[in-house]
């Protein structure tokens, strides 16, 4: 396929109206894929054997690790969107960034909460100021800051550039989270799945974990597309209300003159 045929088709979806049409068709398909992946992932998780060290608490891994991965992946999606805003000033990139931030915050809170519930029986503590946990907490603070910044401007287009710049600046936390277990001594073990040789866990744990990670990714893409659709509608409503208000302000003096 030539680049001439690919390029226009990709950019076609960068139009809000075309995106809405695409989203209306894609969301039902994504919902079905999400439920199927969740059903298979949960089934594989619950038939997995007890871990010889952790016992049944290994079940928490199947929801904690995907939540932590998605917390970082969501921020990466936001950073790519930020580049779209800075380089092309495309409004859909800003819509994507804004819509992803609450989802990223949710996954980060889930990673921290389930991590705490896993840490207590395994490490004997709910919380420790170790590098991995602290850096994930910083990620949550960045998410909350970006959500606050996105709501601090009356006009969404005025917030787009500062939001994009702040998002890209905050991306520094992602490699810190990823490599925190290698750079510092932490309670967390080094990477167990994304290793150069082979994963440090048996297939009975690895497959449910990977399927659950795919299910969480499907949840993200479904909710992100739905949230983007809402943001586009928000902007349309705002434009219509402003247009109506302008029309009214023009009509009133004329009525007074007659």
């Amino acid at each position: 396929m030539s680049s001439e045929t690919i390029k226009p088709s990709i950019w076609a979806f960068a139009n809000p109206t075309r995106f809405m049409g695409f989203a209306n068709k894609a969301i039902p398909v994504l919902v079905i894929i999400t439920f199927l992946l969740l059903a298979v992932g949960l089934w594989l998780s619950f038939i997995a054997p007890e871990d010889y060290q952790q016992g049944y608490t290994v079940l928490i891994m199947f929801i904690h690790v995907p939540a932590a991965w998605l917390a970082m992946m969501t921020y990466s999606v936001m950073s790519i969107s930020a580049i779209g805003t800075i380089v092309w000033r495309h409004p859909l990139a800003d819509v994507s960034l804004r819509s992803a931030a609450p989802l990223g915050a949710m996954f980060t809170i889930l990673a921290l909460a389930t991590g705490s519930l896993w840490g207590k029986p395994m490490w004997g503590t709910w919380w420790e100021w170790d590098a991995r946990m602290t850096s994930v907490l910083v990620l949550l603070i960045i998410y909350l800051g970006l959500i606050a910044l996105s709501k601090a401007f009356d006009e969404p287009s005025e917030a787009a550039l500062p939001l994009a710049v702040m998002t890209l600046t905050g991306f520094a936390i992602i490699p810190i989270i990823k490599f925190s277990v290698d750079w510092w001594n932490t309670l967390h073990q080094p990477a167990s799945v994304s290793r150069l040789d082979k994963p440090a866990m048996g297939p009975e744990f690895l497959y449910p974990l990977l399927i659950m990670a795919l299910a969480y990714m499907a949840i993200f893409f479904t909710l992100h597309m739905m949230a983007m659709r809402n943001e586009i509608l928000n902007r349309r409503i705002r434009t219509m209300k402003m247009s109506a208000a302008r029309k009214q302000s023009v009509t009133i003096p004329n009525e007074g003159a007659t």
């Binding site: 109206t17 049944y56 928490i60 929801i63 389930t114 207590k120 739905m226 509608l233 409503i237």
Partner: protein
């Protein structure tokens, strides 16, 4: 079921289920209210300046 650590495992799954389904319900409710608002404005004769976005 889940042995002595059920008190940690079950809350983990409940929290995850509540957070994700809560977020999904919130987004769906927001979509419904936006569609209603848009319909109300259109019925009131309010038009967008740019008809292609």
């Amino acid at each position: 079921m889940f042995g002595e650590h059920a008190g940690f495992i079950i809350p983990s799954y409940i929290i995850s289920f509540c957070a994700i389904s809560g977020m999904a319900i919130f987004i769906m409710a927001q979509y419904k209210s936006r569609k209603q608002e848009l319909k109300r404005l259109e019925e009131a004769g309010v038009k967008r300046r740019a008809s292609n976005d």
